[in-house]
Subunit: 196 residues, 2 copies
């Protein structure tokens, strides 16, 4: 039987995120997670059915930890609905994701591991689809400028911007990255009727 | 002394790319590369000074193999200079990169390994910067629509589109991906003077 101890489970999943980021997917073993979480060897195997279970829970936990807190959501909902605000929100989003460096690196490791593990690919696909469409729905409800295509294109653009920042931080300077986020919002939220 | 045998060296570097994509950076050993290239154990260690040397040569080789052939470049240079052509070129580029699936996955593994290896990070940073600025220069010379910012933003957008396609191919359908490439070119190459 899987034991009920939500706090310990969360500590193990958080430990798995750190191990993924530091050692890569191949370094993620139950033993390494036990050591990272500072619990007796053999603990993780009581909490997760198998390695796929641990990997998918780590992915879900990254998304959970990346959610903005209530104060941030309230402040965002109270702000004006123009491009400048949207660009500021996106710079804030990039900052929040980049600050959880190990979480984002763990997600990249999971994506690469998903090319080798069909069950993981299936679960991650559902997570990413759900997240992407939640972003589109949240945006449409918000009244911010731009259509669903703009949200999807921003999702693509900002993800690679974060990859760049976290893996090769000197390819673009911080000022260049900020300028690119602003330009992406300005251009992508503007749909032109077939310019000549 | 490093032995001179360019053909065998290329076979070993190509083998390293396959091992990186299949096993991840942690699976990349001289022994695994020897086995992948079908050469006697101990061969790779005669061709590469150390593991960083092998990793950086693998990265450079992916960029080399992704270069378009002369016929493609000639055809591109002869085409018209409008947004439709640009979008078609970008769909073609995404197709060419995605077709070298193991090469692109190897680059992602190298980026993650670069977070752990400062020397690799330094060399990859130079490669990626050089590639990005070559793209900007090639574009400015081509007469295609859009400024340097558009080229940089397309670089970001299309990279994550390819990550999506290669790691979680069912998040977006092929038709959605094609539509997004076209929309990205249309919107990003249009710079508006501060819309109200």
């Amino acid at each position: 039987m899987v034991r009920r101890n939500d706090e310990r489970r969360a500590a193990l999943v958080d430990g798995a995120i750190e191990v993924l980021a530091r050692e890569g997917a191949r370094g993620l073993t139950f033993r390494a997670v036990d050591a990272e979480a500072g619990v007796p060897a053999g603990t993780a195997s009581n909490y997760f059915a198998n390695r796929d279970d641990l990997l998918t829970q780590a992915g879900a936990r990254v998304y959970e930890r990346l959610q903005p807190d209530e104060a941030t959501v309230a402040r965002q909902r109270a702000s004006t609905r123009d491009r400048e605000t949207y660009a500021a929100l996106m710079r804030e989003l990039v900052g929040r994701i980049s600050d959880f460096r190990t979480g984002y690196l763990a997600l990249l490791e999971l994506r690469l591991e998903a090319t080798r593990r069909p069950q993981l690919r299936k679960v991650l696909t559902e997570q990413v689809r759900a997240d992407l469409w939640a972003n589109v729905a949240y945006h449409e409800e918000s009244g911010l400028p731009g259509d669903a295509t703009a949200v999807q294109l921003l999702y693509l653009t900002l993800n690679w911007l974060i990859v760049e920042q976290l893996t090769l931080p000197d390819v673009l300077s911080e000022a260049e990255r900020e300028r690119l986020v602003t330009a992406a919002v300005e251009r992508l939220t503007t749909s032109l009727p077939h310019p000549g």
